[in-house]
């Protein structure tokens, strides 16, 4: 095989331009270079990319840095030379450790004030999971009710913002939880979970139905429901719209109140504004206590635990709502298998996993009925073995009588025999 010499760099290339072929090639390259230099910015982006697909030039150009993002300090200030300092009180430091550190990037990246507000991560659910079983049960029930309202209003465009606000809202005031929980869930004609019609809701329906829900929305609501659920919808339609309207109205009022609070506090000083915001947040999201939850559970009952839950979208809404309220995220695989309120509750309310095998054995009471099995929670030491046979008391007395250490070796050196052999130093 013939080896061709490798050309290196532009200088070597310029030496090979004697033949007419090379001249033509060079001209062509120059032409391309001219075209590329006069091309637009988009073309240059296309040329740079290694992918076969075109880059999203609109996305690149539309990028704006987040507000409040501060770049790290670039400029460096040089200290004044000691011989040029005119201050008579100046005394040069003898050691670098005495000097105070000024400026620099130390701790700059960790300071959250240097980043914009939009860059700070805000979680969807609460930072800590709720573990109280009573509170969890109320939260699950509330999620089932609110998700059902949201599901029924899913295809109604008028209520979309209110539905999103409903699904993404927190606990709200304590009275809101109590009101929501008063809505009863029960089994429908097909054994599926539906909202139970109550007298209060029916009376409210007459007043609010015409004002809040249009005929068009009702038709769309009917279209969204499958033929199987048609019979249930006939029962629950009026009452559902009433509940939805109430909730939408409440959310609107809450938003207004928050806006008013913001406007009012804007006129005050900064410290007062912070206190105000903290106070409103506390009153806005009130996670109910165990006692409140137990009182509410008496009203809720157990009727809602048995009926079937089949609708996947409804289950998704429920899972989203539960995550927002309690911080418990249900995996998709388990969500598909959940088919009733009771199963859902069992999935969420679980005793904490035992960290040690002995604790797990005790919790499950595996050997409760077996007299020939003994389980020790910690290591059985030689002292424990002596205690089991009642010998430790005697051993302790004898050791103390002889002035020997009961536990350990006290001040007796292990290598004393070595000293005897090698000679004491």
């Amino acid at each position: 095989m013939r080896h061709l010499p490798r050309l290196r760099g532009a200088v070597s290339a310029s030496l090979c331009c004697s033949s007419p072929t090379h001249i033509r090639t060079t001209t062509a390259v120059a032409a391309v270079a001219t075209t590329s230099s006069s091309s637009t910015k988009t073309q240059s982006l296309q040329r740079r990319t290694l992918s076969t697909s075109l880059p999203r030039s609109d996305a690149v150009e539309a990028y704006t840095p987040p507000q409040g993002l501060k770049p790290p300090p670039q400029a460096r200030k040089a200290a004044v030379r000691p011989d040029k300092i005119t201050d008579p009180a100046y005394e040069p430091a003898q050691d670098g450790l005495e000097l105070e550190e000024v400026g620099g990037l130390d701790g700059w990246w960790e300071n959250p004030d240097n980043y914009g507000v939009g860059r700070q991560w805000v979680g969807y659910g609460p930072a800590e999971k709720i573990t109280d079983p009573a509170v969890l049960e109320v939260a699950v029930y509330r999620a089932l009710v609110e998700a059902m309202v949201a599901r029924r209003q899913m295809n109604t465009p008028d209520t979309t913002p209110a539905r999103d606000a409903l699904l993404e809202s927190g606990w709200g005031p304590a009275a809101l939880t109590a009101t929501t929980v008063q809505t009863k869930l029960c089994g429908g004609s097909h054994g599926t979970l539906i909202l139970k019609p109550t007298e209060d809701v029916e009376t409210a329906t007459a007043a609010e139905q015409e004002a809040e829900v249009t005929e068009e929305a009702k038709e769309q609501l009917e279209a969204a429901v499958t033929p199987e659920q048609e019979a249930e919808v006939v029962e629950a339609k009026e009452e559902v719209t009433a509940v939805a309207s109430e909730r939408v109205a409440e959310i609107t009022e809450e938003t207004k109140e928050e806006a008013e609070t913001g406007v009012a506090s804007g006129q005050e000083t900064e410290t007062e504004v912070k206190e105000e915001v903290d106070a409103t947040e506390d009153s806005a999201d009130h996670v109910i206590s165990t006692e409140e939850a137990r009182a509410l559970l008496k009203e809720i009952g157990h009727e809602w635990k048995r009926p079937m839950i089949k609708d996947l979208i409804y289950k998704y809404f429920v899972a989203k709502r539960i995550y927002k309220l309690t911080g418990h995220r249900i995996p998709d695989g388990k969500l598909v298998a959940i088919n009733s309120g009771g199963v859902l509750l069992k999935e969420i309310v679980k005793p904490p996993k035992a960290k040690k095998l002995a604790e797990e054995i005790e919790n499950k009471q595996l050997f409760q009925s077996l007299p020939n099995v003994k389980v020790f929670p910690r290591r059985v030491t030689p002292i424990d073995k002596e205690k089991m046979v009642g010998r430790w008391k005697v051993i302790r007395e004898e050791l103390e009588r002889r002035g020997l250490p009961v536990i350990g070796t006290a001040n007796i050196d292990n290598a004393i025999e070595k000293k005897w052999v090698t000679g004491a130093k």
């Binding site: 002995a358 054995i361 020939n372």
Partner: protein
Amino acid sequence: MAVKALHAISQGRNGVGAFILQCKRIDLHYCDWAGSSRGMNGFIKSLLPKFAAAHPEIEFTVSPRPAKHPVAIGHYINGRSKPICVRNMEPYEILKKLELLRDASGEKLKKVTKPVRSINESVRGIWSPYHGNGMPL
């Protein structure tokens, strides 16, 4: 009156009149942290309740031994003990080891050279068809 020694009339043979299991206690040690105890922990949770219920004559003690491999130690009525390290074993493998401990006599392992071993050795030896006169038919 001269003192007479008692003659040994019979020797105890386990299983002839009554059978006494030689294994009296089995200690099970595990570690909560180490991966080599995973099978042992699973065995204690899943298989030990049934095994212990089936052997009420054996005493079982379960205790942790942190930062050590899991061990099953059989204690026998002759005063000896037989420890078996069960590190990285699956629960059913450990079950086999426990059956071995249960069935063991607690004696030291010996090499068996003779096919038949008896405390009542025959004075006539073992019958053989190739020796003697045989029986004319």
